[in-house]
């Protein structure tokens, strides 16, 4: 379970879990903030996100437990699961976050979208306590933690709402008004993501060459390229296709589908990224020896 292959698979499971979680949260946010709570199919979409989060999370939990225990056989991993669940931050936080998401979905089932979005939002942000910032402590750790909270909020609110936006545009009698309201949310998310990406580059990567000489840098570069693609698509949607609604509805829906697919790839890359050591700490190898 030590090999790079398992590391990537573990990262992909984590990314899939994030994608499902963001989708469930984003759908609830869409229902709560954009006044689309009565939209047909919204609850089914939210539950779909929950199932993806559960499946990705189960894979991630199993593989992470195997890594903690240094175990290769299922029996040893099985024996390690209660220890991981009960005695590690990863264990209890992951279980608590899935519990929160289930509660959120039960609220969504009753069309209590604000409560659902609030509960799922807490679960989204809690992911930050598995990151480097929360582990480090001190001023540097606090800056990284706050950066992670803002980054996660922006990513979840943007990428997580895309499927619900597509659903809304399919049936809305006022697609232009819906798309315009969504644009305001989207632009805020993009600003948050750009600012925190720069900060995290400075603190976790540190130099351009690291993009090409380290695994973390390569994963970050993939994420960056995909993000640039997302920005381009979002700009086209905002400035060309939205003003042309309702005539451009079909093209806009196709563009949103591509945006959602790119968003999924970004999250899968992020999942792998989070398994790797940031280059900025590479010089600490050998400390204390």
């Amino acid at each position: 379970m030590d090999s790079p292959v398992w590391l990537v698979i573990r990262g992909l499971c984590r990314g899939l879990h994030l994608a499902g979680y963001f989708g469930a949260f984003g759908t609830a946010l869409f229902g709560a903030v954009l006044g689309q709570g009565q939209l047909k199919g919204l609850r089914r979409l939210a539950w779909g996100g929950f199932v993806v989060a559960l499946l990705g999370g189960a894979g991630w939990f199993w593989l992470q437990s195997a890594d903690f225990a240094g175990a290769g056989d299922p029996a040893t991993v099985l024996a390690a699961l209660p220890l991981v669940a009960g005695y590690t931050r990863f264990g209890w936080l992951t279980l608590a976050r899935m519990g929160l998401l289930l509660l959120a979905l039960l609220c969504a089932q009753g069309r209590r979208w604000r409560l659902a979005a609030g509960l799922a939002g807490i679960g989204v942000l809690a992911q930050s306590w598995l990151g480097h910032g929360a582990a480090m402590g001190g001023p540097g750790g606090e800056v990284l933690l706050v950066s992670s909270l803002v980054h996660l909020a922006g990513a979840a609110a943007w990428l997580g709402t895309l499927p619900a936006l597509a659903l809304g545009l399919c049936t809305s009698l006022e697609p232009f008004a819906l798309a315009r309201r969504y644009s305001r949310l989207g632009m805020g998310c993009v600003a948050a993501l750009l600012a925190t990406a720069v900060l995290q580059y400075l603190l976790l990567i540190g130099k351009i060459s690291a993009f090409f000489t380290t695994g973390y840098g390569a994963a970050a570069l993939v994420k960056l390229v995909l993000f640039a693609g997302l920005l381009g698509l979002a700009a086209r949607n905002r400035y060309r296709l939205t003003p042309a609604l309702p005539a451009s509805r079909g093209m806009l829906l196709r563009a949103i589908a591509i945006e959602a697919a790119l968003g999924l790839l970004v999250l899968l890359a992020a999942g792998v990224l989070m398994q790797l050591p940031p280059p900025a700490m590479a010089s600490m190898a050998g400390m204390g020896e």
């Binding site: 992470q64 931050r89 480097h132 582990a135 750790g141």
Partner: protein, 116 residues
Amino acid sequence: MKKYLLLFTLAGISPAFAHAFLKQAQPAVGAVVTKPPSSLLLTFTEGLEVKFCKVIVMDSMGMHAETGAPQPVPGHANEMSVPVHFAMPGKYTVTWHALSVDTHRTEGSYSFTIGN
């Protein structure tokens, strides 16, 4: 780029030591101590999951000196103590395997000497 790093450093924020590395140890790395301690104290750069950490202490003959598993230190999430018994003076090598709360594993080793 350098001026931004300087700004962050002046603000007390340094590039992330984003894995659990050994920050200090008691007895210290490379120390020579006359009174053998009953436990080692290892301090890391990040919070630890002590249940999944391992510390091996060996003398120059390959005999183990650790007498139990690492234990958490209450109130200090980035520390662990290791019960030890030193049968004789000499050089001891400590090999540590740490699991950080951010799920990353690190390892390293150092030595110190128990003098006569």
